[in-house]
Amino acid sequence: MPTPILEIRNLQVTFNTPVGPLVAVRGVDIDVHAGEMLAVVGESGSGKSVSFLAAMGLLPRSATVTGSVLLDGQQIVGMSPKQMRSVRGRLMSMIFQDPLSALNPVHRVGAQITEMLRAHSKMSERAANARAVELLEIVGIPQPGDRAMQYPHEFSGGMRQRVVIAMAIANSPKVLIADEPTTALDVTVQAQILEVIQRVQVQFGTAVVLITHDLGVVARVCERVNVMYAGCFVERGNVHGIFEQPTHPYTRGLLASLPQTGVERLVPIAGFPPNMLRPPSGCAFRARCDHAVEACGSAIPPLVPVGESESACIRASELMGRK
């Protein structure tokens, strides 16, 4: 296996809040390989966005980040703000969830893209403008020349997300982090945006980390999937393997709560995610798990190979046979 372009080891993120430290990410390992599309799945508050905002150095001052994040061989954790700025937007960039609020309302769309270009290269204004129009064309915006002169409010939600993508890929980054890029869009537009992201991935050879809670999206576009719960990964592996034979009860619960044709009722996962101001000992999912036993509470279970995937459930192989 080649060395990953982004290698995260034992990443921990803690927020200092007025009511005490909140542990959002508890020791996460992840490898992103050049040019792949990788999914990180989990419900709200599982720490999936926070992990990658930490990698981008975009967390507020109240956050403490420890561990190791190697991007193309460079250690990012502990970088000076200046070094971090030269990485951000050049080697690694990000697409945000809500395109309606991710663009600055008072600047022209073209100017917001050229700003990204000129932040990292000594491009003339003219060349940057021309490149911005090209980028808008790549992401499928009709009449890119005219559109570049318009303001964000003159674009629809889907079109704004295309602009955000154009901005993110402006410097042909090695890694593109897409933080719930389709969540705020309606379903027909979602498919188009995913298609744009896939096209960019192929055309620029960019590795894409797709952060989402939508397993339907994952099944459509990703090769590998990482399932996150309460600041830890609970399962990871090949998309098809996990969809056919989930090894962790949480993943199984997620899949059961997906709408399917022929199935009358959705089965939600009972209970609520744990309060991360007081993270539970042992397996964080055990309070909601039908299969929990006493041993589940003793230590945070590590990811171990089970079948084709890796699972952080101590009873994974035992439960595999049952349905």
């Binding site: 990000m94 945000f96 809500d98 008072v106 600047h107 303001y151 955000v164």
Partner: protein, 324 residues
């Protein structure tokens, strides 16, 4: 945009007429201009009184009277004041010039310092600077101008001359008594104290506006997008943050500056500063109708004008606003 401005200006004419009619009626009921005339000129002949009633449009029928006044006003055939039989236009012009000078100085100092303090506070919400600015702003807003004015007069004139033998800043007027002709140095020295009194209020209010507006903007998602581009923190703040944070502040500032034309009534009176506020108070005290009406027209006009200016500046700063 130009079409909009022209249309708004055209609309301001009927508005001006309507509001001045209301003011006309209010003044006639409130000050009884004919009685005021008789009180100040007890030996006026019936012909003189009739003439006064005629040129001021004080017909018993308010509507007919108003139109008589309006015709005289528009043709610049303004009656003289009751007291002293002075020409009104030059008096009003002087008062306006003095107030504009004081108001502009106080607004420029006040808004600039206020905005800077607000930015300074918003950069670290909850930090020591933020607490200091908030406390100072709270104190500044809480001290009414008649208290701060008197404290300044006490300190810079009374105590200062006791300690050092001469006053630091004069406490009244635009020039010392006897001074004739223009003298910039003397004028500035006379303006220092009233400017400070007014500016303190403005600083306090604008520090708070700016702080909350900027805090709002700093937590918005496009600021994170800007940061994710790898541009400098200064560029993020100035290019993306301030531009957005200034939108509401500039709009409020336009309205506030418009209201200054109405005079800084309290401050001007404490410092015997011959501006619009002092003009109004003395004219109102005498019930001097010929002095009061043009003053009112000017105030109404400036409010309308600065409202328009606020709308235009809003549209100019925020591309989402379309004026039509």
């Amino acid at each position: 945009m130009l079409k909009y401005v022209v249309r708004r200006l055209a609309w301001s004419i009927p508005t001006l007429c309507f509001v001045t009619f209301l003011v006309y009626v209010a003044l006639r009921i409130g000050t009884n201009p004919v009685e005021s005339y008789k009180r100040i000129n007890p030996r006026a002949s019936p012909e003189k009184i009739a003439q006064y009633i005629d040129v001021n449009g004080l017909d018993p029928n308010y509507v007919r009277g108003y139109f008589r006044w309006l015709v005289n006003f528009i043709t610049l055939d303004w009656p003289r004041s009751i007291k002293g039989s002075r020409e009104v236009a030059p008096a009003l012009k002087d008062a306006l010039a003095n107030t504009l000078r004081l108001g502009t100085a106080a607004s420029v100092v006040g808004i600039t310092v206020g905005l800077l303090l607000g930015i300074f506070a918003a950069l670290r919400p909850g930090g020591r600077r933020d607490v200091a600015v908030n406390t100072a702003a709270f104190v500044g807003i809480s001290i009414p101008p008649y208290v701060s004015a008197i404290l300044f007069q006490l300190f810079f004139a009374v105590y200062w001359s006791r300690w050092f033998g001469s006053t630091l800043f004069p406490t009244s007027g635009v020039y010392p008594p006897g001074q004739t002709g223009f003298n910039l140095g003397l004028m500035i020295r006379h303006m220092v104290l009233p400017t400070m009194v007014v500016a303190i209020q403005i600083i306090a209010v604008y520090a708070r506006y700016m702080r909350s507006s900027l805090l709002d903007v700093l937590s918005s998602e496009y600021m994170r997008t800007a940061r994710s581009k790898g541009i400098s923190e200064r560029r993020v703040l100035f290019k993306h943050g301030l531009r957005n944070a200034l939108i509401p502040v500039v709009t409020i500032a336009a309205l506030d500056v418009g209201s200054i034309v109405g005079g800084l009534i309290i401050t001007e009176n404490i410092f015997s500063y011959p501006g619009m506020g002092k003009y109004f108070l003395s004219a109102f005290g005498e019930g001097d109708f010929p002095l009061l009406m043009p003053w009112m027209v000017l105030i109404v006009f400036s409010v309308l004008l600065f409202n328009l200016l606020a709308d235009v500046s809003y549209a100019w700063l925020d591309p989402r606003i379309r004026l039509e």
